[in-house]
Point group: C2
Chain length 231, copies 2
DNA sequence: CGTATGTTTGACGCGAATCAATTTTCGTGG
DNA sequence: CCACGAAAATTGATTCGCGTCAAACATACG
């Protein structure tokens, strides 16, 4: 069975300002990076390492060239909320203000390329880049809203099911989903505890919807059934 | 005691593309509307009326000139999640795709002005408008992420407390917070039930943090104490 | 004034968090 | 290559916050 197409991918091209770009979450059209100065060569981070921290001066933004990055926020109580995971080709860390509102950390060993924010100049006639950034911001907002929906109105089984189908759609490798992140990361992304995530995965396996090949590799037995678990 | 300034308002002006605009959530600089064609005069909606529906052709976007609008999504199960409330001066309904991803409804009697999306042309040299839209999108993303944090990692008391302090900050009318929306709306915004919202408000009143003057008017007794209820 | 809608309060049950204990996985050095 | 220790993941027992169900009360509207 083919992986179903995400609703957003079905949209037709709109008119006017909106006629040129259709981007998947966080991505920008190829070649755009040539038009602005980079802050340097690609930088690698080992697993768990911090790329930038909430409150840091947001003078740079990044593109993932390999691996996976998480954007998260820590509360005074020690709780953590992961806002998003960013994989290869996606950009992150572009802020409107002068400080990062979230921290970025390497989920897995990863490589990112940094770009200087002040290199972005709207007056230089590079409307294509400008448009791309605009759509990036719009995509960010859309994904954050989807995330809110997930967090606000779903029970544990629904959350995990949605997470898995979304993952399956992303890496598009058929039924095998490879998770770069830990159960803790998944829990903090879904607003659950590690134990609950683990329990739900076990339940989904007992029900025959998935198979936990290894802890970080999940085979999806029935995407249809899994989707039906989504509210 | 003065209402505390929201962190975002404290940011210093950044450089480059980011040097010109500092906008509160969803707002655009005055006068920008003169530069594009409107779809017509202001339109009024009565309480509860639908402005647009999820899936509708998103050829227009709107600015609230009076009243309050809610953006929400309905799940198949009948559950509803409110993503945001938009008050006077804020714009909403600007989409990257060709269809609205959310429905917009009038929370209170309200008036909005519609603008044609295709009137937005980046090539006409109107970089100021373009920048404004970019920052609008960035602001949308930021607020959606704050919302995620709220939904994912807060208990009922924290959610309501954050909601109230945010409201107090918005209308800035000292200690009296006027709520244009019902308890149902608040509940669906916070990912709670009406009963829980009501119970928490009663508890906050019992504890002396607020005073329920009328159902839709709340006097804040101690903003400090209320803030300490936040996570 | 009566009906509908919105709000509050109470009783109860369920789902997910918490606390606790294994088991598994994985990185590291012998 | 295997042994070891640490971290990750799973599983179980119990608690508790919030949802659900139900009813009383308040407010707005025709």
């Amino acid at each position: 069975m083919p992986i179903q197409t995400h609703p957003a991918a079905k949209m037709n091209a709109p008119t006017g300002l909106f006629a040129n770009h259709f981007l998947r979450g966080g991505q920008l059209p190829g070649g755009w990076t040539d038009s602005i100065a980079t802050a340097g060569a690609a930088v690698s981070f080992s697993q768990g390492q911090e790329i930038f921290s909430e409150g840091d001066d947001a003078d740079r933004f990044f593109k993932v060239s390999a691996g996976c990055v998480r954007l998260c926020k820590y509360l005074a109580s020690g709780r953590r909320q992961i806002e998003a995971f960013h994989g290869t080709g996606e950009i992150f860390g572009l802020e409107a203000g002068d400080a990062y509102r979230l921290s970025a950390e390497a989920v897995s060993e990863c490589t990112v390329v940094a770009y200087r924010r002040h290199a972005l100049q709207p007056a230089n006639g590079n409307t294509a880049l400008f448009e791309a950034l605009f759509f990036h911001a719009m995509g960010d907002a859309a994904r954050a809203q989807e995330h809110s929906l997930l967090l606000g109105r779903s029970c544990a089984v629904e959350k995990v099911s949605i997470f898995l189908t979304e993952r399956a759609r992303r890496d598009g490798a058929g039924w095998a989903v490879t998770l770069p992140m830990s159960r803790y990361d998944i829990a903090d992304y879904l607003g659950l505890t590690v134990e609950t995530v683990s329990r739900v995965l076990s339940k989904l396996e007992r029900d025959g919807l998935i198979k936990l090949t290894t802890a970080r590799t999940i085979a999806i037995r029935s995407l249809t059934a899994l989707r039906s678990e989504e509210a």
